[in-house]
Symmetry: C2
Subunit: 321 residues, 2 copies
């Protein structure tokens, strides 16, 4: 029998108030539906950009500094200049959340190479990079019934994840062509989500998710060929508190198939149980006890303010409470 | 001594009248500098899009049907629906060029997966795809002095081209992270442009260019791991007329280094000579005689109307001449 999954039920597409969604773009705060960028932005033309996504929970950012760490590292690696340092980014994102009046949000922020210079393809020529950000109501992927059912995943072996030597996965990027192609393949075969392998045949990532397996009582998530996921790290920290061993390492698809439990991690859900893999049940075919404990502890911790930075503090304002 | 390169001199950034540039986006024709798309367009967020670029020469599209072939094949492969069939695309692009009043243009046209549906990453959910197009003054890459100097290229072996199994290069796409990374590496080393290898070590592409080598009197361009380039095909057709053998095949970097001549092909230049490779001269270190004959014949043919569709004919209007 599956353990109870204490996931919130109020953050659904139906209940989300998108009229409050805002964006900061080209120096202005505008309603999200007016937020646009030029069609000649190199982020669009050549996927020449980075981004990150942090969420707020009950009015506070979850692990804001780690998302800023990653964004700044991505910008440095890709030689992109958002025009804001860490303090400026923190204030900008905090201010945007406060202005929206929303408490549970997804905050997407990005830096592109800016608008194309006519007649050149030289990225070094593009000196005016473009930073923008959006704040939208947090919609939790995985309402309770969906979480109980879990995701049906499929290893799509013939669409390998883009090699790290080609596009560095540590620099969060918009190169999702492999993910989209594998998603169509998985859905064509009746699955919900693909799991992609690295060029060496080991497990890499699912689209926007890190993959975690419980193998012989220990959690394992791929060390290489993946974005260093902050939600995955969070689950590993919770696992340590709960006395569950967890490590980054090489994970082979055959190990995934014999795992006791499998789940995916992402900001939009914390984690999402995988209950079927390649048409066969994972473990008992329901979310397993370790998965449930991690998810329930995740929400309990967040509700208690763990790793939370109030939006007002990020914005540099005194809280009025 | 280098042969004369009869390239036009009037299509420079300085002479380009961008005030005439137009875009067709979301059902409207607007000046280019007002052409914007939502920041939540999946073409931006996840590089989930395709595009093509055709040019007009003296008021007529060059090889329009082949660009439409490729665009439609890319859309089909990526399951994108531009909302226009071939005739509709032809009319839309023709009309846009006519309205601009420009005769020598670059026409960029794209289809994205459209605006993100909140709370989902499922590409099959995005039913309203977005088609847009821009027309800008044609700026020829490679003015005569630049063409005579040629490009100094560098094989950047440690940044392989994204594998075809991950992102199909036949479907023209915006996944340029490898190209940009390799461009920075080449420029850091004092070269102008990188040449990327396929995962198997054979020559693939340069950023937006096909690579062609003259080896033992015959032209060779990579058959696999590349976009099927229309300018490359054009040069091969001209070569056939001139009695120069040309074939698609496997091209290794060491063959490139001992080639008599090397050039890159793209819509924005026809071809561009490569005069240095990895710091050493290619052949005599000046554009070679075959390169020059191909380029000069290319312009002579285009000036004579070869493969040209007048914009008015594309737009479905009778020409008034």
């Amino acid at each position: 029998m599956a353990e109870a999954l204490d996931v919130p039920t109020h953050l659904t597409p139906e209940k989300a108030d998108f009229s409050k969604a805002l964006a900061w773009v080209d120096g202005e705060v505008v309603p999200l539906d007016q937020a646009r960028i030029p069609v000649r932005d190199l982020g669009l033309m050549y996927a020449d950009m980075t981004y990150d996504v942090v969420h707020t929970w009950r009015g506070g950012f979850f692990r804001l500094e780690e998302h800023l760490d990653r964004f700044l590292a991505s910008c440095a690696g890709l030689r992109l200049d958002p025009g804001l340092d860490r303090a400026g980014l923190r204030r900008r994102l905090g201010d945007l959340v406060l202005r929206s009046g929303l408490s549970d949000t997804l905050v997407y922020f990005a830096c592109t190479r800016g608008t194309a210079v006519p007649g050149t393809r030289d990225p070094a020529r593009h000196v005016a990079h473009r930073f923008f950000a959006t704040v939208t109501p947090l919609i939790l992927r995985g309402q309770p019934a969906e979480m109980r059912r879990g995701l049906h995943a499929m290893v799509v072996a013939d669409v390998p994840r883009i090699a790290a030597a080609s596009v560095n996965p540590h620099w969060k990027n918009s190169h999702w062509g492999d993910f989209q192609r594998a998603t169509f393949a998985a859905k064509d075969a009746g699955a919900d989500v693909p799991i992609l392998l690295a060029p060496d045949g080991s497990v890499a990532e699912a689209p926007g998710f890190n993959v975690v397996a419980l193998l012989d009582g220990a959690l394992v998530s791929p060390a290489d060929n993946v974005l260093p996921g902050i939600s995955c790290r969070t689950m590993f920290e919770i696992a340590a508190e709960l006395g569950i061993p967890a490590r980054y390492g090489r994970l082979m698809p055959e190990e995934l198939r014999r795992a006791e439990e499998v789940f995916l991690t992402a900001t939009s859900c914390g984690l999402f149980p995988v209950t079927r893999l390649d048409g066969a049940p994972v473990g008992a075919g329901v979310p397993g006890p370790v998965t449930a404990r991690l998810l329930n502890t995740y929400y309990a911790r967040k509700n208690a303010g763990w790793h939370i930075t109030p939006a007002a503090a990020a914005a540099g304002q005194e809280t009025t409470r």
